[in-house]
Amino acid sequence: MIRFVLRRLLSCIALLLAISILTFLIFEAMPNSNPALRLAGRTATQVQIDAVEREWGFNKPIYVQYYRTMEKIFTGSVISYTQGINVESQIVSDLPPTLSLAIGAGIIWFFFGVVFGVLAAVRAGRWLDRALTVLSLIGVSTPVFFLGAMLSFYLGFKAGLFPNGDYVNITTNPVQWLYHMILPWCALSAVFIGVYSRVLRSTILDMVNDDFVRTARAKGLTERQVMVRHILRNSLIPIVSLWGLDFASVIGGGAILTESVFNLQGVGEYAAQSIQLLDVPPVLVITMFGAFFVVLLGAVVDIVHAWLDPRVRLSA
């Protein structure tokens, strides 16, 4: 186990390094115009552009540039020239809505995905099964920002059942916090619930004929016992790792689309605004940290997966 963990962490670190280099290349070494111009933003004067060029070392060799960029990022000193603020401190203060959104939605879609998946597997071919198929297909085909806009309009504005967006800090008013988060949670989880329930259903159905199940049945266990004790536990494992990856990618990206619709003022919305303004420093930092987070969480999930399922350790 230890060896697996070490190996996994090592490859994770290598991947993180590669990601940082790729991000650096994308933003600062593309074979097109002046990178200082790009970082300084579209509102910069020539004086500002020259200052940026000196500060980030664009007149130096590329490895110096890379080093400077990483140094700035990891010492928290990246400044957004267009908006005049420190990017990392802005990100930190914008974290609560993003975390609320991702964790809440993650819990909801995991719970409902499992419940519906099990129900669909047990009642294969019936209406629930078909309904879930339809739901999952629509969920995979609908952009989350459109779904969010529809929910916000019909349930929020028209029906007045929910507020029209904005974020209330959980420490200020927990009830309001919950009330404001319900629609964003629904929008974000709807996309995943259908898919997860179908995946779980397929996994369960595939397992039904496996040897160990037949053995359990032969031993005289009831269908329910077979289902819960053996099938469910085993089929949850891939779901958990899937969940980990998707959760990471929500924080790493999907939140961007949902937050801007509901005006949650989290990291995602900050990224969306920076993109609109073509303000590169925040986009640079957020994409890199997003990718980092995904890779790290992927490694954690793999390790948890290996701990739960010893067969995985051998195949790594």
Partner: protein, 362 residues
Amino acid sequence: MATPINPLERLDEQAVAGAADPPFAAEGADLPPGLGPYKIAWRRLRHNYVALGFGGLFLLILAMCLLAPVYAADIAHIGPNDESQAFNALGPTGIPIGPTWHAHFFLGADTNGRDVAVRLLYGGRTSLFVGAVATLITMVVATVLGTIAGYARGAIDGLLSRFFELLWAYPALLLGIALGVSLQLGGLNVGLFTLHGSSLMVPALVIGVVYIPYVAKPIRAQVLTLREREFVDAARQQGLGPVRIMVGEILPNLSSTIIVFIPLILANAILLEAGLSYLGAGVQPPNPSWGTMISDGIRLIPAAIHLTIVPGVMLVLAVLGINVFGDGLRDALDPRAQVKVRFAKVRRSKAAPAAAAEDTGR
């Protein structure tokens, strides 16, 4: 939204990786003589009315969008950027009119007084064009690189696999944003090849690159097993070079995998384009696209909801059409469908043995 890459793909990967056989046994096992594997698949597909219906829906949408200039000139009598009717299309405070269900402003007007129906069709052309080109880029590059990686193995495979891992580990939306923002600001200038920042090829290229690993990895996995097959050995004995073998022997056996991936990638590419354009990192104004139309519409939600609903619904229908058809296609080509049929027998044997033979599909 495309960020949760359809886990069905991940299943595909596992299935393909685990399958010792290509989808059709070259020896023709229990197939009626004279019928090729595609004929079998087509038969199965032909009976899947749902998949065909949705595929038809997508083709209908595609046709409508391609005929956008005809609609603009002959029916609506107004171009996509034409604001000459703005006075009639806007209320006193600038709120655009909703759908009139007549030839003029059939689906209403947008905030600039332009015809939404016309822009919807032109926007569809853009979105579908970007999606199609991106899919083409992904499929071609991923197939080539995946085949080379799987066949060559060794150092080349190592290098390519690292490349795939890196691209794959980077969340699709973030990578799309990073590339989109960077290219938008400066365009691309590689020797003779120049792309202006606002060209449509930029989002197409970005999306195409993002999805490469999702196809390349399964293809590589399949090639890894294929190269050990006897017919590849035989070809080598005959003295055929690696390129001839890859193109002549291996590629045809990848065809069903490739076919199955095309609708999957197309659907995701269109969704990613919508997402990127919505954020401003994809298609740039004045080119209309469904994503930019939705982002314009969301600004005016309480007053003019049609601006959001119209492009959104169109987008969902188009992608749904591709997805359902793609699922049907996969079912037709995928032997795992047999598993489901078998399983259905087991499940129902208690209640209705007669119904067991029915392919319950999903």
